[in-house]
């Protein structure tokens, strides 16, 4: 999966792209009175790659679960624009979350299967997606036969296969080793370049967020909230050279400083 794959049309500036989703002043309080998220607003436009970056307990996973419709906001609204709904959602969890009894192909088929579409009628699309993640030779394998990184690729293929308007990724590479992780980061960017997918990516890695996204929302804990939005103006596709450029280093530093400013003295221990 080379980054130098067919270049899509240059992505227009954010203002010109159609909106996908709007979070308006969303609050989430849990039953015990714990404020998981306070007044979060977010506008997602087509083609965005947004990272939610923060320490544990900052509500980044809560935000994702709210968008996925797995929870309701206590206050505020989440509005899907342009007829999109959460039917158009792809999700990648921290674990690959594959069905161990099903082959790779059957796992990727799942979102279609729930829509009542047969494996035969969707096989072309499934194989095409598996090719995108480099697993077309493993369609008939079982998850246990794959490495951790390969399982994650299957999970990504399952999220991509329906060509959703929004893909949510919840620390998808956190459990992988550094080498696999970098490879998957590179591949994710090239996938994004090929498919034009819109992604919200939760991470606690500064470098990952700067490398991947065009907007970083730095979040703080207790209560969970967004404290700063940092733009990463580097255009896509981004290659390996982006990882070593001075701009990358500068933004990483700025992001890291912001993140550290959110940690009250002594709270790192949590």
């Amino acid at each position: 999966m080379a980054i130098t794959a067919a270049r899509p049309d240059p992505i227009p500036s954010p203002e010109l792209r159609e909106p996908v989703l709007r979070m308006q002043e969303v609050d989430k309080t849990f039953n015990g009175g714990v404020v998981a998220l306070r007044r979060m607003s977010l506008e997602v436009r087509k083609g965005d790659f947004i990272s939610l970056l923060g320490p544990s307990g900052c509500g980044k996973s809560t935000a994702l679960r709210l968008i996925a419709g797995l929870m309701r906001p206590t206050l505020g609204k989440i509005v899907w624009e342009g007829g999109a709904s959460r039917d158009d959602l792809g999700v990648v969890f921290q674990e690959p979350t594959l069905m161990p009894w099903a082959t790779v192909e059957q796992n990727v088929w799942l979102p279609f299967r729930v829509r009542g579409e047969s494996l035969r009628s969707t096989r072309d699309r499934i194989m095409e997606t598996l090719e995108l993640v480099g697993l077309e030779k493993f369609a008939k394998s079982y998850p246990r036969e794959l490495s951790g990184g390969m399982k994650m690729r299957v999970s990504i293929a399952r999220a991509l296969v329906t060509n959703p308007r929004l893909i949510l990724m919840d620390e998808p590479f956190a459990a992988l080793d550094e080498i696999t992780r970098q490879k998957l980061n590179d591949d994710l960017l090239s996938l994004k370049a090929k498919t034009g997918a819109t992604v919200i990516f939760v991470t606690h890695s500064v470098f990952e967020s700067v490398f991947l996204s065009d907007r970083i929302l730095v979040m703080a804990a207790r209560p969970g909230r967004v404290i700063r939005e940092i733009a990463v103006p580097e255009p896509y596709p981004r290659g390996i050279e982006w990882r070593t450029s001075p701009e990358y280093a500068a933004i990483a530093r700025q992001t890291s400083d912001t993140l550290h400013s959110t940690l009250a003295p002594g709270s790192e221990a949590h």
């Binding site: 419709g69 999700v91 979350t97 009894w101 729930v114 998850p143 246990r144």
Partner: protein, 290 residues
Amino acid sequence: MTAIDSSTAASSTDKGPMFDEEEERIARAKRVESVAKWALPIIVMSLAIWYWDRLVVWNDIPHYVLPGPGLVLSTLIEDWPILSEALLVTLKITAMALAVAVAGGVGLAVLFAQSRFAEMSFSPFAVILQVTPIVSIAPLIFIYIDNRIVGLLLCAWIVAFFPILANTTLGLKSTDHNLSDLMTIYRASRWQRLRYLQLPSALPYFLGGLRIAGGLALIGAVVAEYVAGTGGIGSGLAFRILEAGYRLNIPRMFAALILIAGTGVLIFATTTLISHLALRKWHESALKRD
């Protein structure tokens, strides 16, 4: 890095032959084990039977106290018409009870998984049925139910269904939370969630329950028949044992006993095979490790 490289290189050259010897030793142990796995049980079992035979001969034990293995075998062959008929009856009741236990256990487990209220309402009954010894319920069952076969079936079912219910319920609840969330995101219906996610997740648990239930169905069928007692046509192995006991026909008791034990082993082997075939492609329990 270089230090590690040189040290591993040194150790592999120094201890090269020893490593081979070690490998060879492991390979030899594996070969021995693969033979022993079959040979040992056969040898020990043969020795035990031989000792049983010698015990009878050396001590001049009369056959109405303890028959020798040869006599038991010839009785088994001689009485085959009676015993095979009884065996068929017992097998039939066991199989039917197991089938009903599977249907009832799985059905109830699915109901429990769908509705917590159903589980709250009915699980006490299941527990009470399970913890009350079948010998103590059986006489009542045979008072209320005229049809002997139905009575036997009911007894065997009561004993067999609980492990299937308990295991399947546990399995249906043990689905991966993230997969379950995914089904919610995909807006899967209850039926889809059950079929695509919960039932496959529960399969290993169900099969574990099935292996226990297979043995219990046989025990239930035999115990119920002891209680039911009435003989004649359509009697199973348990009744033949009772009858032979009254007549001091000890060799036939042994022959019938062997058939019951054999049936139990056969049921266990069958359910184990089913379990293996169903899980061998994906489940940890059925995978070979190096």
